[in-house]
Amino acid sequence: MKKVTTPLTKQARVKLKCGEEVLLSGTIYTARDAAHKELVRLINEKKKLPFELKDAVIYYAGPTPERADGSFGSCGPTTSSRMDKFTPALLDKGIAATIGKGSRSPVARNSIKKNKAIYFLAIGGAGAYLAKRITSSVTIAFKKLGPEAIYKLKVKDLPLIVGIDSGGCDIYA
């Protein structure tokens, strides 16, 4: 299986084709509904963002609390389409890829194509299995949001499927 690493540069992105199965290693950032709302507000107000968006990867996920050893018990993807309305603003700022479950709206898909970004699918409902591919985590923003905070995760061989590729080919369309 093809291995990909972060930061996910444009050269690496254009080589990925929809339907392809890959193993992702490197750094990714969790962000779900409330964090998206905050990030886009910060962008609109031209304020400092909690992490460098260029070539970064966002994981639509809200993990269960840390266990005694600091790892998450469960951390799978949430439904991506709820983030669609925020996606163009983030991709325009350089986000390389998003990871979630389910289909995307035409607006999100067009933005992915325009920015030569990627939409990856992770297996929904396999949170225990996926959490084992996370090697470390740290909260970097919006701590008050609890499970909706932004966590910086290090992942090793996270199994993903290319849902929408940089050319706009959509596995569900």
Partner: protein
């Protein structure tokens, strides 16, 4: 009168919250295993295998099956010859939810107000339904439900002259709308009749019924099989990437209704549909 201390109820709810979230129901595990054996689509087969592995890891390593450990519905069937002592029932049940979610390191996903959206940080309160029945037993059913699938559920007020065909087409349309988003293969809980609210409660209760058994009512049994067959023709498959397994099981509950209507509620359940019960 048999006395039951509400602290005992609290402890049971606590335990059931953890059990439901860490251990995939036996009927669902077997259904996924069966689907895995029969699946001809290679990608679907690989995904089903990972779902089984996920359930094994969760049980063995004490991890939640899914990070969305849900909003908790608690169903109580309380015998009328039981006298509850030691405090309030509702607060004991909610204390059980809080304790279970804390101890089990389960995600706290409840916001205080749908408008203000401040997390309660305890996963309480739960949604509680109490039915007073004959006898002196208490049955407690805990159903933590993720919102990926809850968001795709639907309700229709059909006409009284409609029948199986119209019910079926509404259910199929609901699943089609869910598509790949709500973690297929699905389990469908369907509530027929009653009122607008009753149909929805029945649909959720139907999700707690074992999917390897069918209803004893002949007219519903036929409908459960027909819906299962029809929904699987959609070929949504695991992760929505195609395959034979779109739906693992369909359960229906019905209730008398008005001459002017036919309420139909479909509660979409994911492949990690969770519930645990105990009777004392």
């Amino acid at each position: 009168m048999r006395k039951i201390n509400v602290n005992r109820i609290k402890d049971i709810v606590e335990g059931l919250c953890i059990e439901a979230n860490m251990e995939l129901r036996g009927d669902i595990y077997r259904a996924i295993k069966n689907a895995f054996k029969k699946e001809t689509n290679k990608k679907a087969k690989r995904i089903l295998k990972i779902l089984l592995e996920n359930a094994d890891i969760a049980k063995k390593e004490y991890r939640p099956l899914c990070q969305d450990t849900g909003i908790v519905s608690v169903y109580l069937e309380l015998g009328q010859n039981v006298s509850l002592v030691g405090g309030g029932l509702k607060s004991a049940v909610n204390a059980g939810v809080r304790a279970g979610y804390k101890k089990g390191l389960l995600r706290k996903s409840i916001v205080k107000s749908p408008i203000l959206r401040i997390n309660t940080a305890t996963n309480a309160p739960c949604v509680m339904h109490t039915d007073i029945v004959k006898g002196e037993k208490l049955k407690i059913t805990v159903m933590p439900k993720g919102f990926g699938s809850e968001n795709k559920s639907g309700l229709a007020m059909l006409n009284p002259t409609d029948g199986e065909k119209e019910i079926m087409s509404f259910v199929v349309e609901t699943v089609k709308q869910a598509g790949p988003d709500a973690c297929p293969p699905y389990i469908l809980g369907i509530g027929l009749g009653g009122t607008f609210d009753k149909a929805a409660i029945l649909a959720k209760q139907a999700l707690a019924l074992p999917i390897d058994k069918m209803t004893p009512k002949k007219h519903l049994k036929k409908l459960e099989s027909a819906i299962l067959q029809e929904v699987n023709k959609l070929r949504i498959g695991p992760m929505g990437l195609g395959g034979n397994a779109t739906c693992l099981g369909v359960r229906i509950l019905e209730y008398p209704t008005h001459i002017a209507g036919l309420p139909v509620a479909v509660n979409v359940g994911c492949h990690a549909t969770r519930s645990a019960s105990r009777t004392i």
